[in-house]
Amino acid sequence: MSEPRLAIAGLAIARGALALGVAATLALSPGGAAAQSSLELRARADSAQRRATLLREAYRRVIEQDAPIADRTLSLDGVTLRYRGMDLGSADSVRVVEGVTRGLARLRAGTGAALPALLDTAAWSLDVRRRGPFGSSDLYVRDGRTNWRHTLKHPIQATDVEAGLLTRAGDRLVERTEQLRDRMGWFALRPDVAPWGEVARRLATNWSAAGRACAAGALASCRLVLERYRPKEAVTRYFEPRDYRDVVVSGASSATDSLFFASKARCVAGADSACARIVRDITPADPFGGAVRGTLLAHAIELGGDAAVARLVERRPADADLEAISLLADAAGVSEDSLIASWHRRTFAALEPASGAGVPLILSTVAWSGLLFVASRRRRYL
């Protein structure tokens, strides 16, 4: 039996014994509860309750914090990675090792000398748990702070482990830096994830005028989109009067007076003046989200390579005063305007027709239809 399981069993036995002891004391003492003052009984019950709570806490710690005790440890390139896989066979173990090796190699290639700083905890751990008899698994990647959990539809593959490491490293990158915490980082180090087209579509159909203007090519609006979201100034920064109805419908308000709700009803019904009157009482939801802002981080890393990651990981006192865009432009080694302009080109280039659209699709469909037509003439089977 492994160490955590022994500890868990021991705590469970101790907890049971304590409960029995309390019950026996209460039940078997001469005269039972009648022989004790109610105050004394209450004090004993409270004491038992406190000890039970302490035991429950200790039990929870064993389960939640001490559980990922390593079964195996890998040290590659100066990085230690512990992993364990409950119910995994040797073939799964081989895949985990392969995934870890590939993931660390990719991280090393993408982050260069910044890797040890990025993985700045003593060790990461992987935990693979098979969920059922048909091969699906949960992959947990822990780095001492938070967990990243990914449910797999199939037995663990090396690519899953690799993706898990890269995802968690991207998250760590934004968690480390105050200015970047409002954006998603999980895809920043994963070239296999391409959120660009989705981001472009979200901006072009955005309910804020700033988002739509950015899609139309106004780089000043793109700057607003990519900066930190400021909810208190949102109505004036991101929206135009014709957006106010959407703001009123979807935003949150602390107003509870009937006048507000009457105006809101008129606004929803189409009265623009009512919308303008109450829109300042509304806190709109973030119209862009962390994914949109996260693409600027991914783009800065694309431009600057591993030097950009090293620059983001490095902490300088002067960085504390920089806005996110300045920090990312500095990391990418370009000016802010240049970074925003190239981000715009990169994002909206994703909307250009991919292979398989237009003429190639026509040709392939006609070719498949032609093949079927030729096949259908081959025999007569009535």
Binding site: A204, D243, W368, S369, A375, S376, R380
Partner: protein, 218 residues
């Protein structure tokens, strides 16, 4: 000879083609109306996208049925007379099949034109925001291609397997479903994903159904 075959094709399938053409014509306006209950006011980009979101998948289904009906009606009419008409023609079977295929394929244009008219009608009623573009030609072309592919699959199935076509189709559908279910439960879901991807991604045969069918997009 092609004129005669086309005449019989029109005669046998005109009712079904008329119904499907009417559906293709009204579908864009009908689906918009179901989402927005009107078309006179100015809509935001997101509302416009939402109004046409279901149109693509719905047109894919209609395209499939157009192909299916054109094959099934012609075959059923021929089979009712035990193919006497086809076999009495002074041409080889392969040529007859080619003419029959061509006649049916030509009729695919009727619902396609109806769809184009319906699409132009709804686009004239709805104001498209400046950040969006309308793609009536692309959607209509996709519809034609999807109907052509669906027609070709059904035609090949029918003319290769004769009266057993329905059984073969049913068996194939059940077989594919059972196969993917078993593979998925056995932990080989990625195999199913890979096969599905190969069929749906260009240059796979079903790529036209999986391609972008948005009437209005960025």
């Amino acid at each position: 000879m092609f004129g005669q075959i086309l005449y019989t094709q029109v005669k046998w399938s005109r009712a079904a083609v008329a119904v499907l053409s009417a559906i293709a014509f009204v579908l864009p306006a009908l689906l918009w109306r179901a989402v927005h209950q009107g078309w006179m006011r100015e809509y935001s980009a997101l509302e416009v996208m939402r109004g046409f979101a279901v149109l693509g998948p719905a047109l894919g289904v209609v395209a499939f049925f157009v192909g299916f009906i054109l094959v099934a009606q012609a075959w059923a009419a021929d089979a009712a007379t035990r193919h006497v008409y086809a076999l009495s023609l002074p041409i080889p079977w392969a040529r007859y099949v080619a003419l029959r295929y061509g006649a049916g394929a030509l009729l695919l244009l009727v619902p396609t034109i109806a769809l184009w008219l319906g699409v132009m009608l709804i686009l004239s009623l709805v104001t498209i925001p400046e950040s969006l573009n309308a793609y009536p030609g692309t959607v209509t072309l996709r519809f034609l291609l999807a109907a052509l592919f669906s027609y070709s699959v059904m035609f090949a199935l029918q003319y290769l397997s004769g009266k057993r076509a329905a059984y073969i189709l049913l068996t194939a559908l059940v077989g594919v479903f059972a196969f993917s279910l078993v593979l998925g439960l056995a932990g080989y879901g990625e195999v199913v994903d890979a096969v599905t991807g190969a069929l749906l991604r260009w240059p796979g045969p079903l790529a036209v159904f999986a391609s972008d069918w948005m009437l209005v997009d960025v």
